[in-house]
């Protein structure tokens, strides 16, 4: 009977989850939230500096091992915060892109498609990068490749800019500025 109880609890949790998903979907569709306002700006230069292997090498040479590990962990936590924000921004851009996909004109829909693809790629890379960062937090001396996230972010910026231009040709593209 223990097995039955476990399965009943699992099924009940599944039911709650699916009802929450359905509810949030209907709320999301009915509420015209300002998506651009949800995008948090990211200092790409600071992020680039954080993931620069040369910086790590420099610190490794200049600092005692224990101090280097402490500094490295602080840098990794900062990196995680950046990647987390980049992933969240990508999620917002997926929603913006999906909304724009319904646009009647082909160029806008095409740009929206590209934006969604790039945003999905970035969100995927952000998840992988976060995983690697957390692993690196346990072993601060290990190497870390977060460049794909940065490259993805830059690519995303271009896609968002193109979509903004197509949606509002009068004004220069501005979505990417928030990224």
């Amino acid at each position: 009977m223990t097995l039955a109880i476990i399965l009943v609890i699992a099924a009940a949790l599944g039911l709650v989850f699916i009802l929450v998903v359905a509810l949030s979907r209907s709320l999301q569709l009915s509420a015209g939230t300002n998506l651009v306002a949800q995008i948090q700006p990211i200092d790409v230069e600071a992020f680039r500096n954080l993931i620069d292997p040369a910086e790590d090498d420099y610190l490794r040479r200049r600092l005692p091992a224990a101090e280097f590990r402490a500094v490295r962990r602080r840098r990794l936590r900062a990196m995680a915060a950046y990647v987390h924000t980049a992933g969240r921004n990508a999620a917002v851009l997926v929603r913006m892109g999906q909304a724009a996909l319904a646009a009647g004109d082909v160029p806008t829909a095409e740009a929206a498609r590209r934006l969604v693809d790039n945003a999905l790629l970035l969100r995927r890379n952000a998840a992988f990068a976060l995983l690697r960062i957390y692993v690196a937090l346990a072993w601060p001396n290990s190497g870390l490749a977060a460049e794909p996230v940065l490259r993805g972010y830059e690519k995303l910026n271009g896609s968002a800019m193109l979509l903004g231009r197509l949606q509002n040709p009068a004004a220069p593209a501005r979505i990417s500025a928030s990224l």
């Binding site: 009977m1 097995l3 039955a4 399965l7 009943v8 699992a10 099924a11 009940a12 599944g14 039911l15 989850f17 699916i18 998903v21 359905a22 979907r25 999301q28 569709l29 015209g32 300002n34 998506l35 651009v36 306002a37 790409v44 230069e45 680039r48 999620a91 917002v92 997926v94 929603r95 913006m96 999906q98 909304a99 724009a100 319904a102 646009a103 969604v116 693809d117 790039n118 999905l120 790629l121 969100r123 995927r124 998840a127 830059e154 910026n157 800019m161 903004g164 949606q167 509002n168 004004a171 220069p172 593209a173 501005r174 979505i175 990417s176 500025a177 928030s178 990224l179």
Partner: protein
């Protein structure tokens, strides 16, 4: 009132399945069956199977053993169709997005393997009744298929929620109905397979049939009623220092 072979019992057994057949006819007429062939096949097979079981149940010439054989045949057919249907839902949600489709396929295969192992483990720990092997075996098979089905559907919902991908209303409706049905059926079949609520099994049957009725209505709503077109206003783009940003980005990309 909640007794077997009452008017409510017969309605809940026959009504939703007739509705499902009517839905299948509408889907055929509107050519939606071409877009969702597995769902259409599932609707037809599932409804016909339940109606055949109903006729067999009220027909005095059909022995209990024959009834359970029909039940088994329907169970296997439905199980196979549901695997195809889950693949169809997955394809509708993710195949248009190559950035995540490949990862999704890889992950759903992994999740599928884990679920099959978990279902096999659950089956191994479920008590078997050797006197009525055909009955307890059917309960066990129901528990196993619903466990795998629910796991796969929840994975699809979680994966799309993580990437904030909204499925088309029809796909969402099919998946929603199927998942609600799988949740409740898994719970009830798990209780039955493990020998719970003996003497009050009708209550579980009523619950299963009522939930299935609700799911059929969900499918009607999402598949036949035209969904409101959500207005997509042009994104209000804020004032910013885009030029500075782009210059800086170019400098970063090409130092």
């Amino acid at each position: 009132m909640l007794q077997a072979h009452t008017l409510l019992w017969y309605y809940l057994w026959v009504g939703p399945n007739l509705l499902l057949l009517i839905l299948a006819v509408f889907l055929w007429k509107r050519r939606i069956h071409r877009v969702y062939p597995f769902f259409w096949a599932f609707a037809v097979v599932s409804a016909l199977d339940q109606l055949a079981l109903f006729v067999a149940d009220i027909s005095p010439s059909v022995t209990p053993q024959t009834w359970w054989r029909i039940f088994w045949a329907g169970l296997v057919a439905e199980g196979l169709l549901k695997i195809g249907l889950i693949g169809e839902i997955f394809a509708h949600v993710f195949d248009t997005y190559p950035a995540v489709a490949k990862l999704g396929k890889f992950m759903i295969r992994g999740v599928g393997v884990v679920l099959v192992l978990a279902a096999a483990l659950a089956a191994a720990y479920t008590p078997q009744d050797s006197r009525f092997g055909i009955v307890s075996g059917a309960h066990l098979l129901e528990q196993t298929t619903y466990l795998i089905e629910l796991g796969l559907l929840l994975f699809i919902f979680s994966f799309s929620a993580y990437f904030r991908l909204n499925a088309a209303p029809r796909t969402f409706g099919i998946a929603l109905g199927l998942t609600i049905s799988a949740c409740v059926h898994l719970a009830t079949w798990a209780v039955m397979a493990n020998g719970g609520l003996k003497g009050k099994r009708e209550l579980l049957d009523f619950l299963n049939m009522s939930i299935f009725h609700i799911c059929v209505l969900i499918w009607f709503y999402y598949l036949l009623i035209p969904q409101k077109a959500t207005p997509h206003p042009a994104v209000p783009l804020p004032e910013n220092n885009l030029d500075v940003w782009n210059r800086e980005l170019e400098r970063l990309v090409q130092p």
